[in-house]
């Protein structure tokens, strides 16, 4: 093959194997860590987005005091314990621009009772006005949701037809939701809102369990779907004007909040990666400064035989780019492989922290891979730019004088 500037750069890499491998290993570690942690963060966010999108609602209306808990509930699957009067549902329905309103009651499952999952999110919903649960049922016994039926999240341990009992109220598992990756859905059990009130009544009379609040005429919140073209801020304003005890949050806000929580969890890792990126740029700079110094003679000859200053600059940059791009691919391979190998353990530990995780879709992983390569490229360019400028200033006459 006839030589080209790019090939010349590639050939030069083969001169100093040790340096090449030092950069390769170091940049690979950084890119691997960056790729794997980004994949984790995006996986968590994807789980949240997917789960939130399944709400099918534009607004979530809840008691003012339960706002923080609600965000926590959506992120972690921990239930809320604040309630408001169910009469608000009709008030909201009456507003112009509101298409559908569905009330729900969130309960904490009792522990210590037979066949009860300690961390389940028990949700009572009204099948007559529901638009957030039924459309997402993956498997079901038949087409008619019974009064004592339950719809379970994908991570709950039961199967269709099983009988489950919460607060003394038996329910038959009628349907199962597909996996969302979000605690709210995956660990939830949905049932008729009347059953939630029965559970409340039963908890008041059964002294062996912690009593629930009196839920007659109460709801935990309302999911609101707006008409096409209706402005969320206007509807929010109308709801709050008439119901100052409530808070209306958009699902977008919840997602943002959840993302911030996720980023906060991973901020330490992100900070470490930033430090690693900067230190690698310095390392590449140091190595290429030495390379340019050692190859002054050779660069002088190349300059003498007709290389322009930009050509010399490109030669050095190409070398660094080749190394860093190769390192980027190796890093992604290592990071991706480690994530795949330890996916079960990682998901397990994230679940212990009540953080949902699902691998993002292929196109997102592709973009992430592109981003990782771009970071590797930028590291290569940043690290080698100054040595390349030094190389450009090499005087070919000096190389001749030195007896080259």
């Amino acid at each position: 093959m006839i030589i080209s500037l790019f090939r010349l750069a590639y050939q030069n890499l083969q001169m100093k194997h040790l340096r090449f491998y030092i950069i390769l290993i170091s940049v690979s570690i950084v890119i691997g860590a960056l790729f794997a942690s980004s994949l984790l963060i995006l996986g968590i966010q994807h789980s949240l987005d997917k789960g939130l999108s399944k709400l099918g609602a534009d607004l979530l209306v809840i008691p003012k005091d339960s706002l923080v808990n609600m965000k926590s509930a959506l992120l972690t699957g921990e239930p809320s314990a604040f309630y408001t009067d169910s009469a608000v549902l009709d008030k909201i329905r009456a507003l112009k621009g509101v298409k559908k309103v569905s009330g729900q009651i969130f309960l904490t499952s009792a522990t210590g009772e037979c066949c009860v999952l300690g961390n389940s999110f028990l949700i009572g919903f009204d099948p007559s006005d529901d638009f957030t649960v039924m459309p997402w049922v993956d498997k079901k016994i038949n087409n008619s949701f019974p009064a004592d039926g339950a719809i379970i999240g994908s991570m709950t341990p039961w199967e269709l037809g099983d009988i489950v009992r919460f607060y003394g109220v038996p329910l038959t598992v009628w349907g199962k939701l597909e996996r969302t990756g979000i605690g709210l859905y995956d660990n939830a059990v949905f049932f008729n809102i009347q059953k939630a009130r029965e559970m409340s009544d039963h908890s008041q009379s059964d002294k062996s369990i912690k009593p629930l609040a009196n839920l007659n005429g109460k709801i935990s919140g309302a999911l609101v779907q707006l008409d096409v073209g209706a402005k969320i801020p206007f509807i929010t304003f109308s709801i709050l004007k008439e119901n100052p005890e409530l808070k209306a949050i958009t699902t977008g806000n919840i997602a943002t909040s959840a993302r911030q929580t996720t980023v906060a969890v991973f901020s330490g890792i992100i900070a470490l990666i930033v430090i690693l990126v900067l230190s690698n740029i310095l390392m590449i700079n140091g190595i290429y400064s030495a390379v340019v110094n050692e190859r002054k003679r050779e660069l002088g000859i190349i300059r003498a035989i007709g290389a322009t200053r930009p050509a010399i600059f490109k030669l050095i940059i190409y070398e660094a780019l080749l190394t860093s791009v190769m390192s980027g691919f190796v890093g992604m391979l290592i990071g991706g492989s480690l994530l795949k190998i330890f996916q079960r353990s990682i998901v397990f530990y994230l679940r212990l922290l009540n953080i949902p995780f699902m691998l993002p879709p292929g196109e997102i992983i592709g973009l992430l891979a592109g981003g990782a390569i771009l970071v590797a490229l930028l590291m290569g360019i940043s690290g080698s730019a100054y040595p390349a400028f030094v190389a450009v200033r090499i005087d070919p006459h000096e190389t001749m004088k030195q007896g080259l």
């Binding site: 010349l8 083969q14 000859i301 190349i302 290389a307 006459h397």
Partner: protein, 244 residues
């Protein structure tokens, strides 16, 4: 033969710390096309500086370098690089081949920086390089690496590299330094062959008197001054030695 290379009042001053060193003290030189000029003189006499100024490698402090009537030091970096690439074939003393490239790629290396040459396809370039190497009896070493070649063979490859862009001037700085007498004679014969066969203008800087046998023009450099057409160059050089 027409005037081809001309320098007028060429001066070069280096500032070494507080000291001002005059490497060239106003050199007026004319070299005709097809000449075989050998620059002789002691170390520090200004030979390499003069040749570097002619070759577009070091900017003179004063004076002009005209190649075919054009002042090369009025060119910008890109134009000057292109001039070096197209008009001049450089040959340096030793270790001037790139160790990571085989003989073929070392020879075609200047074409990387020559846009017009790159328009030729790879096969054409390869054929030309192999033809040049064959002319220099190096056809069996096309895919060898510099570390596998003798000193004489390395010089032949460097000559082929200097010729690949078909330049009009070959500029060689100590091309036979560190070679034994026999190999030196072989290299000088090759230069003579290039001068006669390819009609190239040769400018050679050397300490060796062996070049005098083949040179058409002998220029003696001494203390930054140039002496052309001296009656007895050997005596002129030796005199310099005695004085020093």
């Amino acid at each position: 033969m027409s005037e081809f290379i001309e320098t007028k009042g060429l001066k070069k001053v280096y500032q070494v710390g507080d000291q001002r060193v005059e490497a060239l003290k106003g050199v007026d030189l004319e070299i005709t096309q097809g000449d075989f000029a050998v620059f002789m003189g002691h170390s520090g006499s200004g030979k390499t500086t003069l040749v570097s100024a002619i070759g577009g490698l070091t900017r003179p402090t004063e004076g002009t370098v005209l190649i075919e009537g054009n002042d090369i030091w009025k060119l910008n970096d890109r134009q000057l690089s292109n001039f070096r690439n197209r008009k001049i074939g450089f040959m340096f003393q030793s270790f001037s081949l790139l160790p990571t490239l085989n003989v073929l790629n070392n020879v075609v290396m200047p074409t990387i920086f020559s846009n017009s040459s790159r328009k030729k396809n790879a096969d054409e370039l390869k054929t030309k390089a192999i033809s040049l190497l064959a002319d220099l009896e190096m056809q069996r070493k096309v895919y060898s690496f510099p570390s596998e070649l003798s000193g004489g063979e390395q010089r032949r490859v460097a000559i082929a590299r200097a010729l690949i862009n078909d330049p009009e001037i070959i500029l060689a700085d100590e091309p036979t330094g560190e070679l034994d007498i026999r190999t030196e004679r072989e290299v000088i014969d090759i230069f003579s062959h290039i001068n006669e066969t390819y009609k190239k203008t040769l400018i050679v800087v050397s300490h060796s008197l062996t070049w005098l046998e083949k040179a058409k023009t002998i220029i003696v450099m001494k203390d930054g001054l140039m002496f052309k057409d001296v009656e007895d160059p050997v005596e002129a050089i030796m005199e310099g030695v005695c004085k020093q």
